[in-house]
């Protein structure tokens, strides 16, 4: 009975890995990078070091710029500068309803002179939306997160010698070495892996379990949002033109109200209409939980309409779990540990996928197994190559190119598709070293493109890129020798 239970768990572990491994690998890798999304955004704007400006002043200037340049948009979403990201970010829909996102100069509030790029936001969005339309990307990511929780639990069950082999890594022993690496990386960062997969599933929980919301609110989703955050609401435009009151006094009042938590975001709905609303969302300095305070003002009179500080235990638990996942609270050391643990998770998933193919290739593999083997090569070596290309596209695409940010993202998917196609039509023993070598060169190019490494972000990125490049180069050398 015990044996059959373990066999069943082993089957489930393998099947989950086989079905969700590719997408989980991309999610884990992009998630690790999005820990440093602000730093990546800074790296992708090498034009100038953003000057340190008072966050409220920079936010106020950003809103002034939007008032002159995006007055017809139905809403503006402005993120205030922080210590990690010393620039405001604005998002607004254009006439076609397509959302535009721009980094703004903290001194002028204008995007002029700054290249058009999504920066680290691409990795953050890709991590849970997979560049797919709502709700499909989020749904796939949510199911993958659940599969990861189950995969981790079944992995513990089937790891028969978990304590005996705790500090064991036996190199140069083929399949055994891969299994040791899979086990040690999985066990070492297990608390992080369990936490990040569980909180990831909770974050997207309303997609996995939508029925409770539907049962209570039927199809009135706005009512559910209002209940979740009573001060965060919108109202339709009146059709009568209106003028926004000066924003700075509202920001000062909200800042005082939030008591030192700072301001994270400002939403302005119907900015040119008589029914304008200004919603100010508190920051979360030194607290794990995300947003706990929201204030909404009438945009044309400046009168406070509603203020809400979250105290409900269930919602505070949710914001704690969400905060734990997105790590906005994290100081530098914690951020690095999140990054390393995320890379370890990607390595666990990748080594598991590689183990699956190694085991099958020892026997007489059928066509399906050979295709999976080649796809694994394309995904495991092609995904980091595609992500690395995003950094290089940021430097290589002309600054005046229209829709530059879109082209940067397209480069990622073009290289990814090329990598997978290459792996499908090339013998794996050749494709591995060639793609790994490509990764090494791309990482080296990223390090060099940050020259002259004038600030800590450029230096940090160069060091990480060189270390990853060295690791990829070593792996390419080892696999080429075996080919």
């Amino acid at each position: 009975m015990k044996g059959s239970f373990r066999v069943t768990m082993a089957w489930l572990h393998s099947m989950l890995g086989l079905v969700t491994g590719w997408v989980l690998f991309a999610i884990a890798l992009s998630g690790s990078l999005s820990v440093f999304r602000q730093a990546i955004t800074l790296w992708m704007h090498p034009e100038r070091d953003p000057p340190r400006v008072d966050p409220l002043e920079a936010t106020s200037r950003a809103i002034d710029w939007l008032a002159h340049n995006a007055s017809s948009a139905p809403a503006w979403y402005v993120t205030s500068p922080t210590a990690e990201a010393p620039f405001p970010t604005a998002v607004w829909p254009d006439a076609q309803g397509t959302y535009i996102q721009r980094i703004l100069d903290p001194q002028t509030g204008s995007p002029d002179g700054l290249r058009d790029t999504l920066g680290g936001e691409f990795f953050y969005r890709f991590h849970f939306e997979l560049q797919l339309p709502y709700p499909w990307g989020r749904l796939i990511a949510a199911m993958a997160a659940l599969a990861l929780v189950v995969g981790l639990v079944t992995g513990i069950i089937i790891h028969r010698r978990i304590f005996a082999d705790f500090f064991t890594f036996r190199p140069k022993r083929g399949l055994r070495s891969w299994l040791d690496a899979h086990n040690i990386l999985g066990v070492a960062a297990l608390p992080f892996h369990l936490m990040i997969s569980f909180t990831g599933a909770v974050t997207l929980g309303s997609l996995l379990l939508p029925w409770s919301t539907q049962a209570v609110y039927h199809h009135d989703m706005m009512a559910s949002y209002t209940d979740l955050n009573p001060a965060l609401y919108s109202r339709p435009a009146s059709g009568q033109p209106g003028h926004l009151v000066p924003i700075r006094p509202l920001l000062d009042e909200a800042d005082r109200h939030f008591g030192g938590a700072g301001i994270e975001q400002v939403y302005i709905f119907n900015p040119s209409d008589h029914a304008a609303l200004v919603t100010v969302i508190a920051g979360n300095d030194h607290t794990v939980s995300t947003t706990t305070g929201v204030m909404t003002f009438d945009g044309t009179t400046g009168q406070l309409i509603n203020a809400h500080t979250e105290t409900r235990p269930v919602i505070r638990l949710y914001t704690f779990l969400y905060g734990l996942h997105v790590a906005r609270f994290a100081p530098a050391v914690t951020r690095w540990l999140y990054f390393l643990s995320g890379l370890a998770l990607a390595a666990v998933i990748g080594s598991g996928m590689h183990l699956w193919t190694l085991k099958r290739l020892r026997q007489q593999p059928h066509m399906g197994q050979r295709i999976v083997c080649r796809m694994n090569t394309g995904i495991l070596a092609g995904t980091p190559l595609a992500f690395a290309t995003y950094f290089l596209a940021n430097r290589l695409l002309p600054l005046t190119l229209a829709n530059r940010a879109v082209h940067e993202v397209q480069t990622v998917f073009a290289v990814w598709a090329l990598g997978i196609t290459f792996a499908l039509f090339r013998r794996p023993d050749r494709a591995w070293p060639e793609l790994l070598g490509g990764n090494a060169l791309a990482c080296l190019a990223i390090a060099l493109s940050g020259l002259p490494w004038t600030n800590v972000v450029m230096r940090g990125t160069a060091i990480v890129a060189l270390m990853l490049g060295g690791a990829f180069g070593y792996a390419a050398f080892r696999t080429a020798r075996r080919a």
Binding site: D165, F167, T168, P171, V187, A188, H286
Partner: protein
Amino acid sequence: MMAAAILCGQCGMLLLAAGSIRGSDIILRRSLSHLLRRSIQTAGMLLLVLSLVLQLRAAQAPVIALITWPGWISIEIVLATLACTVLNDLRGPRR
């Protein structure tokens, strides 16, 4: 304080490795009695707890120290494992 906490954690993890059957063979080059292995492992656990206490004392926000500590433990496990691997390679397997 943080450096002391990390050092305590790494020493604790090496003691845990030395207290395991395979680890004692590699690190101490001899098989230990059950009691001795348990004693070494207990000392290792105590050092890990001490590293947590030191990190909590050094941190401005204890909850963030509690989140960060398992991250350090992960690195310490990997380093202890690599130390065992290197030692085993240098000395050659005992049996």
